[in-house]
């Protein structure tokens, strides 16, 4: 594993257990629709926190509120006791980096260039220095390249530095996105479904990668549908259902909670209001079966 030598603003300084991300009463409304309602969430340094919930629960919306893509209608998000500005590039500069649910790499740039773009906030060379090409420019470029190669090494893509990002296989694109996010030297990394569409082997690799990131002193907040992945990985898991936080706790607590199970697979409703309809459908099906029997061969025409 590479050592962070070139990170003066390295987040490793935070003492373990200290709260770095503190979201209080985050509410997001789109017109009449409330996508996220009063969600509180904290992430401590050196911690991996999971965020789960059924489809449409508002997980990604909540992520977007954290990263400045949306401005929360109510509530505030603090990072290291400072309120995060409502602009995504300022959030990244403050030290919160993210990946996207549907991979958003710069497809026509090389793998290395993608990571270099991630270095943007941690370098300062402007247009003048690019035009004049003083020694400072060359030094900064070389340092950025070196750091980017370290990160590619870290995620295991160093030998593909010159490939176009769009030509990478799916799993490697996910890794590249993580490397690109790490290039901004975050104190907190937000991963939006990092294993979506991966095979079990790739999922295990990602798990290793996330642990390695945590070992670098970076806290991780991860959205995921893969329960085994999330319960293996996370110190704490929060469950979001219909925009509200249902329960939060360690893996065992969450797994045992009946409300969580109900939210995912539904629960029987009192008085069984659907029973009548169900009976009707059954009867109709039986009737249909009878007619099909009477006219065999009809089925093939469909």
């Amino acid at each position: 594993m590479t050592t962070d030598t070139t990170t003066p603003s390295a987040p490793t300084g935070a003492t373990p257990g200290e709260t770095i991300l503190d979201a209080r009463g985050v509410t997001m409304r789109f017109g009449g629709l409330t996508a996220v309602r009063g969600v509180d969430l904290t992430v401590n340094s050196g911690e991996i926190v999971g965020l789960i919930g059924p489809n449409g629960a508002g997980k990604t919306t909540f992520f977007n509120c954290l990263t400045g893509l949306y401005t929360p209608t109510e509530g505030e998000v603090r990072y290291k006791d400072k309120v995060l500005p409502p602009k995504s590039f300022k959030v990244t500069a403050a030290g919160v980096a993210r990946t996207f649910q549907n991979i958003r790499l710069f497809g026509n740039m090389t793998v290395l260039e993608n990571v270099l773009v991630g270095r943007h906030t941690r370098t300062k060379e402007g247009l003048w220095s690019a035009l004049l090409r003083g020694p400072g420019f060359h030094r900064a470029e070389a340092a950025s390249r070196e750091r980017a190669m370290e990160l590619l090494e870290f995620v295991g893509l160093a030998d593909k530095a010159d490939h176009l990002a769009r030509n990478l296989p799916y799993g490697e694109q996910r890794r590249l996105e993580i490397a690109r996010a790490l290039a901004s030297e975050p104190g907190l990394l937000l991963l939006d479904e990092p294993t979506a569409g991966m095979n079990p082997q790739e999922t295990r690799d990602t798990e290793e990668l996330v642990f390695a990131i945590r070992d670098k002193g970076i806290a991780v907040l991860v959205i995921e549908h893969d329960m085994r992945f999330i319960f293996n990985l996370c110190d704490r898991v929060a469950v979001l259902v219909q925009g509200q936080k249902l329960v939060e706790g360690d893996a065992a607590t969450v797994q045992a909670d009946e409300r969580v199970i109900a939210a995912y697979i539904g629960e029987p409703i009192a008085n069984d209001p659907g029973a009548e309809e169900a009976a009707e459908v059954e009867a109709a099906e039986a009737a249909a079966e009878a007619t099909t029997d009477a006219a065999p061969g009809k089925e093939n025409d469909r």
Binding site: L69, S88, T92, F106, V117, E125, L131, F137, S144
Partner: protein, 608 residues
């Protein structure tokens, strides 16, 4: 063609003869015909093609090719050389590192087209085939032979896609047409370029010099074509010749070498361009040269905005106007409201600075928009500039720009006693007014090229490309999108303003009509954008080539007249259909548009 009604039949018939040519002549005969036809074509150019000098170019001499015959000579020679190389002739193998067959085909097609165009033009101009001398007939037959022979060369045919038996007639027709196109495309497909033998550095530099000299000769010849027929012939020969050389793999070789010696190439290219006025005996073509350079420089500036940062700017010519008007006002012209005359370096800096201010002022409110909305708003601002200039004439507004009369009789530039309006004799060469300006403009072009190269290969350049690729992701990576876009916009404006300061002196007069959105004379916003798109977005040489073509074609083809804009539009549509990445594609773009093609996965330094 067999009717393929079911998918089951498909693999059967076409694979029976996997590799054959487009026409059914055996390969060895075809190759011999192509090579011999090329050689005969070369010989025929030394014969007389017509009996009278009434046809321009005087094709009546024996033993001395003239006018269009020179072009045919080059085409025939190319065909012959590629033909001989395909036999594995010693000493010619280097000509075809990527296989000779496609190159032979293209060279033969080009020569055929030039000769038959000439024959038809002679018959049409003079009224009948009787005006042809035997030489003309020989040339026609020789090129036809070469063409037939070349078309008989084998190539790998693509498998036809199986097609749906339920298709209607129309769909079937489309399906078959698509297959025919695929076959035609495959017939000129090229192999992978063989890796080159290691050459010493001086050898590679000699090759660069040779390539640049060839480029200068071709360009000078194109500018110097004195009549329509010759220019059409030049376009045909140059187009097909260039394609043939590219298919032969020579272009790959040369670009690999130039990528290794980028600075040598850059310096060499500018020495070659600077040599242009010295090849001219009078100022006639230097005039065209300087206008092309102004156009090309502004197009290159626009390429930063459009090609790198992906901001569609339809009012870019306004910044050229800002620079030109600023320079004109401080030039000491009698119709300028300010009675001051700054030295050129000061007015150039002032013009660039004022254009930058305008760039920031216009960019700040508009760059919050994306995509089409930005295009519409910049289009509006371009027109606002023109109308504002038109109306600040003292009657409908304050008297600043002298309205539609513009600022006239702008004096010539005088740098340290070197008067750009006078003829100067340098080392035996006479350098007249436009040639002086050509050399000055070349310096400005050099500045723009260096700015483009350096800014694109840096933190800010990567941020521009990232913004173009995916603005949301770029912002999430910590890029201040607005700020970065504003820098691109202002930088583009500054460079256009800089070019404008020279333009004002070259044209003597600046009027609002020079800075319209669309107009028959470049530069205007529409033509600038067309030059960038036609040449290739995001490259340096692309807009330069695009601008040269877009300036030369209307200037040379007088017979197009009123149909010029229609022809221009048609050409753009066709180009966008068949080569959306432009004539000189950026490697990134090429991969973007032809994802299915055997895309090399590695993006080398040369492409960026």
């Amino acid at each position: 063609m067999t009717t393929q009604t079911t998918t089951a039949q498909t693999p059967g018939s076409p694979t029976a003869e996997p590799n054959k040519g487009l026409i059914g002549i055996p390969e060895h005969i075809g190759r011999a015909l192509a090579t011999a036809g090329g050689a005969l074509t070369v010989i025929s150019t030394f014969l007389a093609w017509t009996w009278t000098s009434a046809f321009p170019g005087d094709l009546t001499y024996y033993g001395y090719p003239g006018g269009l015959q020179v072009l045919v000579l080059i085409g025939g020679a190319l065909t012959t050389l590629f033909g001989l190389a395909s036999y594995g002739t010693k000493g010619l193998r280097w000509l075809t590192p990527a296989g000779a067959d496609s190159a032979i085909k293209l060279a033969a097609i080009g020569t055929f087209a030039t000769v038959w165009y000439t024959i038809i033009a002679i018959s049409a101009t003079l009224g009948g085939l009787v005006h042809l001398e035997p030489g003309g007939w020989i040339a026609a037959i020789a090129t036809l032979t070469a063409l037939l022979g070349a078309l008989a060369l084998p190539f790998e045919r693509p498998e036809p896609d199986p097609h749906d038996p339920d298709d209607s007639k129309w769909e079937k027709l489309r399906h078959e047409t698509r297959h025919t196109f695929a076959v035609l495309r495959a017939s000129i497909a090229t192999g992978r370029t063989r890796p080159a033998r290691e050459l010493p550095a001086y050898g590679e530099i000699l090759i660069i010099v040779g390539a640049l000299t060839t480029g200068l000769i071709v360009f000078t010849y194109g500018i110097g074509t004195s009549y329509d027929e010759l220019f059409v012939g030049f376009l045909i020969t140059a187009g097909f010749g260039f394609a043939a050389i590219a298919k032969a793999g020579l272009l790959d070789r040369v670009s690999a070498i130039t990528a290794r010696h980028r600075n040598v190439t850059l310096i060499g290219a500018f020495v070659a361009a600077a040599a242009f006025p010295f090849t001219q005996s009078d100022d006639q073509y230097a005039t065209i040269g300087v206008y092309i350079l102004i156009f090309a420089t502004v197009a290159l500036g626009l390429n930063i905005v459009v090609g790198l940062a992906g901001l569609l700017d339809l009012g870019y010519v306004a910044f050229l106007g800002v620079g030109a008007y600023t320079a004109a006002m401080v030039s000491g012209s009698p119709s300028s409201p300010f009675d001051i005359q700054l030295p050129f370096w000061a007015s150039a800096l002032l013009g660039a600075a004022v254009a930058m201010v305008f760039g920031v002022l216009i960019g700040a409110p508009t760059l919050r928009l994306r995509g089409d909305y930005l295009a519409i708003v910049t289009l509006g601002f371009g027109e606002i500039f023109r109308l504002a200039v038109l109306n600040t004439d003292g009657t409908s507004g304050p008297d600043i720009t002298n309205g539609s009369n513009g600022i006239s009789s702008i004096p010539n530039i005088n740098i340290l006693g070197f008067d750009f309006g006078q003829e100067h004799t340098i080392a035996g060469f006479t350098i007249a007014r436009f040639a002086n300006y050509f050399l000055l403009m070349l310096l400005i072009t050099l500045v723009v090229v260096v700015v483009f190269r350096r800014s694109s290969d840096s933190r800010i350049g990567r941020a521009w490309v990232a913004i173009r690729e995916d603005e949301t992701a770029a912002r999430a990576m910590g890029i201040n999108g607005f700020r970065v876009k504003l820098i691109a916009f202002a930088l583009g404006a500054t460079l256009a303003g800089l070019a404008g300061t020279v333009q004002a002196h070259v044209t003597y007069t600046v009027t609002p009509e020079q800075y319209m959105f669309a107009h028959v004379v470049p530069p205007n916003s529409a033509f600038l954008l067309a030059a960038v798109v036609l040449g290739g977005m995001g490259t340096i040489s692309g807009p330069l080539v695009g601008a040269a073509l877009l300036y030369l074609i209307p200037a040379k083809l007088q017979f197009l007249g009123d149909y010029q804009l229609i022809a221009f539009g048609l050409a753009l549509v066709l180009l966008m259909r068949f080569r959306p990445e432009g004539l000189i594609p950026n490697r990134r773009r090429q991969l973007e548009f032809h994802a299915e093609a055997e895309a090399p996965t590695v993006l080398s330094k040369s492409g960026a």
